[in-house]
């Protein structure tokens, strides 16, 4: 099975990081993975995204154009990728910042008030982890335990004290997906 994801948002919302966490988590689970950042002059202030592929077999194209799912942290990202999602795919979007609902049928859609939940936890920066939790709850691409292991790899050791907070945020997202 191959799962292709696009994570997108403003620079600073941590979309590259959650993409890396999925890729690392997949690697830890023994799968083939790739992570590819959107790349070009638009990276300087504006919308950024990354393509992640997690697969049982050798990864082909690292650039995803028909994703199985997207995590959209801001409105331009949601608008850009809504129609690209494969039928039966998944859209998780940050309803704290996005006031529209995606106009798309045939896919699972979950609004996640990611910034509000993160603020309740005391740190706005973990909004990305709330969205990731919701996405993983719906798709099960990687297990929550792999996320914890991946965080240790992705974050520099001076940031490891933030791992419990990140896991808390992830759990909130997972709970949202259950309901």
């Amino acid at each position: 099975m191959t799962h292709e994801i696009i994570c997108a948002g403003f620079g600073g919302q941590g979309v590259m990081l959650i993409g890396q966490i999925i890729a690392y988590g997949g690697m830890i689970e023994g799968k083939s993975v790739s992570w590819f950042p959107s790349y070009g002059p638009e990276m300087r202030g504006g919308t950024a995204n990354c393509s992640v592929v997690v697969s049982e077999k050798q990864v082909g194209s690292p650039i995803v154009s028909e994703p199985d799912g997207i995590i959209a942290m801001n409105r331009p990202s949601l608008e850009k990728f809504t129609m690209a999602v494969k039928p039966g795919g998944t859209i998780v979007y940050n309803s704290s910042l996005i006031e529209i609902t995606p106009d798309r049928s045939g896919v699972k859609i979950l609004p996640v008030p990611a910034n509000d939940i993160a603020a309740e936890l005391g740190n706005d920066k973990v909004a990305n982890m709330v969205a990731l939790g919701a996405y993983l709850g719906l798709t099960k691409v990687i297990s929550p335990t792999s996320v914890e292991a991946a965080l240790k790899k992705v974050l520099p050791s001076r940031r490891h004290k933030l791992i419990p907070l990140n896991i808390q945020a992830l759990q909130k997202g997972l709970e949202l997906a259950k309901n």
Partner: protein, 354 residues
Amino acid sequence: MERVMMKGNEALAEGAIRAGCRFFFGYPITPQNEVPEYMARRMPEVNGVFLQAESEVSAINMVYGAGGAGARAMTSSSSPGISLKQEGISYIAGAEVPCVIVNVSRGGPGLGGLTPSQSDYFQATKGGGHGDYHLIVFAPGTGQEMVDLIGLAFDKAEEYRNPTMILSDAIMGQMMEPVVLPEMRPELKEKSWATTGKKGRVKPNVINSLGILDKDLELMNIKLQEKYARIEANEVRYEADGTDDADLIVVAYGTTSRVVRSALSMLREEGKKVGLLRPITLWPFPKKILGDLAAKNKRFLVVEMSSGQLVEDVILAVNDRSKVDFYGKLNGTIPTVREVYEEITSLLQKEGRA
């Protein structure tokens, strides 16, 4: 062995260090900047030299000097920067100095753009600078190959006393994939030909590409051509995936081979007989396997990010024994999996093989 996630450019840089490279000379240009950035931090840790030269021309000539003194030396750049280095590369080829040149290529001509491209294929494989010479050119298709092929590039450069090139692009350079890094190489052997001082020898070692007296130049070229023939006989590398029972074989390298692989996997699920022939060395080119496959009535489609460069080598290798189609994307555009899938599907339909 532990797998770690690394960007292609960083994997390549660490692979070079582990292969014994201790001299890096370069000048900044996107999309290869992660290579010098990594080297600037890493080289001091292994008592190596990182030097940002004042220009690409200086950098390649520093490589010429360090390589001539027997060190494992490299430079990296991107297309316009590689053009600037061509004079030096030609001298290095003439003087038979081992070294590695990395081209994380971008679109051209001219200053071009930052997006990935495969339009430097001719420059890489047909010489590039003046004179009758060849580089050994490797085209990595995975993060792991970024590590493995740069190690091989240093080994082959030394074995043949010939400059080698890694021809990569922005996708291969920016993408992160899991890689297994090799152990650090032990100290390298001294080279009998290197210019490290006479040390009691009567004749000094000379590194030079000048052949101005009598038949010097002809002899130098005969020797080079003999070497290139040995390289062509021994160093061809390629990956053949599903070519045995395929009716149609797609030829692609580097980034496009990845896109093609995804498209082929969709087509095989539909029962289509399609295969991939991926050159890993672009020079020497896998002529023989292509010729053999053509003789077995296989048809070919070449997919590349250029107006048609690799396709010329495929046509030469096939030599009218079969038909070769071409699907190219011009600088700055990467073919999507869907586009390649549709191109192959329509070719198969035209042939009545769908």
